[in-house]
């Protein structure tokens, strides 16, 4: 099932944006889940490392994962909420994933939340490490969660509990 039929990118589509293994093993890096040529370039504008470039406004973002330092400034600027930062070096068994989140209630640091995949299906528990919700984010909170490493390319949403 492809993006255009289901709203969820297929494995093949995802493979075009997943960073190379060697970069994932070095530190935090961005995953830009943007697959359609639409006129849009705030990710380029936000990136101070020039790791994301959009030469023509209708181009897909061209990501140089080597230049990316995982600073996450781009996450809250993407109008499609399609950018995530993955840090597989967080710990031996866990990955740190940063997601954009625009719902209430916002979780608090230390909360246990439910990790959801791209179809909203439950993956397991996640712990909230940090919630960035300041002026820069302009109401697109950036939430850092830690979750089992297996889920690094699956978890893309959370459900806040009670």
């Amino acid at each position: 099932m492809t993006l255009i039929k289901s709203g969820v990118p297929s494995r093949d589509e995802l493979s075009t944006v997943i960073p190379p293994r060697q970069k994932l093993e070095k530190g935090p890096v961005v995953v830009v889940e943007c697959f359609q040529e639409i006129p849009c370039n705030p990710c380029e504008t936000a990136c101070k490392q020039e790791a994301i470039r959009v030469p023509n406004i209708n181009d897909l973002p061209i990501v140089d994962h080597e230049l990316c330092n995982g600073c996450s400034l781009c996450i809250s600027k993407c109008p499609g909420l399609a950018i995530f930062v993955i840090d597989e070096t967080y710990s031996p068994n866990e990955v740190l994933v940063k997601i954009p989140y625009e719902f209430l209630p916002l979780p608090e640091e230390g909360d246990i939340v439910t990790a959801l995949d791209r179809e909203g299906k439950v993956l397991g528990d996640a712990r909230v490490l940090k919630v960035q919700d300041g002026k820069y984010q302009d109401r697109t909170a950036v939430i850092s969660i830690t979750v089992a490493k297996d889920f690094s390319m699956e978890v893309r949403n959370i459900k806040v509990r009670g």
Binding site: E102, F103, L104, P105, L106, R139
Partner: protein, 102 residues
């Protein structure tokens, strides 16, 4: 029901207003449309079609479609989606084509 918490918007409501819907006192806020206040009070059926008596209500919200017509202060065919509430206003469901007052 009125929204209280919202992740993007903050609602600053104006002064509280009391108006009447079919004789019953309803609360609204200055700046709200009649449709918004009625919706918040759980009322969604605004008039009944003249021939087949079908319930009709809100549809377009911006005054284009004529689905939301009601009788307001004795005047029929008022588009309640654009008409603002005012203190003491009398709003009734309309059941016919309405006769315009001169």
């Amino acid at each position: 029901m009125r929204i209280t918490g919202h992740p993007v918007l903050q609602f600053s409501r104006g002064k509280k207003i009391k108006f009447y819907f079919e004789g019953e006192e309803i609360e609204g806020y200055a700046g709200e449309t009649i449709a918004a206040a009625l919706h918040a009070a759980g009322v969604k059926d605004y008039h009944y079609s003249p021939k087949l008596n079908r319930p009709r209500g809100f549809f377009c919200a911006i005054g284009n479609c004529s689905s939301c017509l009601m009788e307001v202060d004795g005047q029929p065919n008022v588009r309640v989606c654009t008409e603002q509430v005012s203190e003491g206003m009398k709003v009734r469901r309309q059941h016919n084509k309405g006769v315009l007052k001169p």
